[in-house]
């Protein structure tokens, strides 16, 4: 992993069309500005992890399907 030190107001360019700027630093929080093409997905990492955990749980819980089918009066 490439590790760089930046001050508030400084930035980093990634490739030709992605720009990351350190907007402000306040204690434990760093405000970042991101400029990227619309096709480039930008996502807070913890959101991705929460969706991954939810998918894994849902995919491996067949009892949900039974219970859900029963709840809508379609199960056995």
């Amino acid at each position: 992993m490439l590790v760089l030190s930046r001050r508030a107001g400084q930035g980093i360019r990634i490739g030709d069309d992605v720009r990351l700027t350190v907007v402000a630093i306040d204690g434990q929080f760093v405000r970042l500005g991101l400029e990227a093409p619309a096709a480039c997905k930008i996502l807070r990492e913890e959101l991705w992890h929460s969706v991954a955990a939810d998918n894994k749980e849902a995919a491996a819980a067949p009892t949900s399907a039974h219970a859900l089918a029963q709840a809508i009066g379609r199960g056995s």
Binding site: W48, V51, A52, D54, N55, A60, A61, S64, A65, G73
Partner: protein, 162 residues
């Protein structure tokens, strides 16, 4: 003159599913097979899914992985949950405007802690029948919960948020 045997244009396919935890064979049409070019979070080994639809189970459907037999996601069409404005929020995240071939599905499960059902509104699964592809879209910054509890309204045959 010899009459050639005409095969049906779209023969049904038999696939194995674990939708109820036990191995089971179900028939799906080729139009129900979807490729997910981008990895589905948490299910990185699964790129091909079959949508299992069964009128016996009403709005409840399943996305059965064809790459990992044990992976089967119970899903509900977003249209089966009364959520004003949700369709427009999903559409805003799509590359192309949704059309008749676009289906928006919500991963659903039983939340044992709460004793009720929940759908994932944060990350709907969008299927495009035209291209036979699907993807899970994460609606960043739209404040949709990953666990929205819902209750079945038998009279209107729709789920309501609760």
């Amino acid at each position: 003159m010899h009459q050639p045997t005409i095969a049906p244009a779209f023969p049904m396919l038999q696939i194995q599913t674990f939708r109820f935890g036990e191995p089971e064979q179900v028939a799906v049409s080729p139009a129900s097979l979807f490729t997910f070019p981008e990895p589905v979070p948490g299910l990185a080994e699964s790129h091909r899914f079959a949508l299992i639809e069964d009128v016996a189970y009403g709005p409840l459907k399943w996305l059965q992985s064809l790459d990992e037999a044990a992976v089967c996601l119970p899903v509900l069409p977003a249209a089966s949950v009364a959520l004003p404005g949700y369709g427009a929020d999903v559409a805003a995240f799509l590359d192309a405007a949704p059309d008749a071939d676009t289906r928006v599905l919500l991963v659903t499960r039983f939340d044992a802690e709460a004793g009720s059902f929940a759908v994932n509104l944060l990350a709907p699964i969008v299927l495009d029948g035209g291209s036979g592809t699907g993807r899970q879209v994460i609606l960043e910054d739209r404040s949709h919960p990953i666990r929205q509890h819902i209750v079945w309204d038998a009279r209107d045959e729709v789920f309501a948020p609760c």
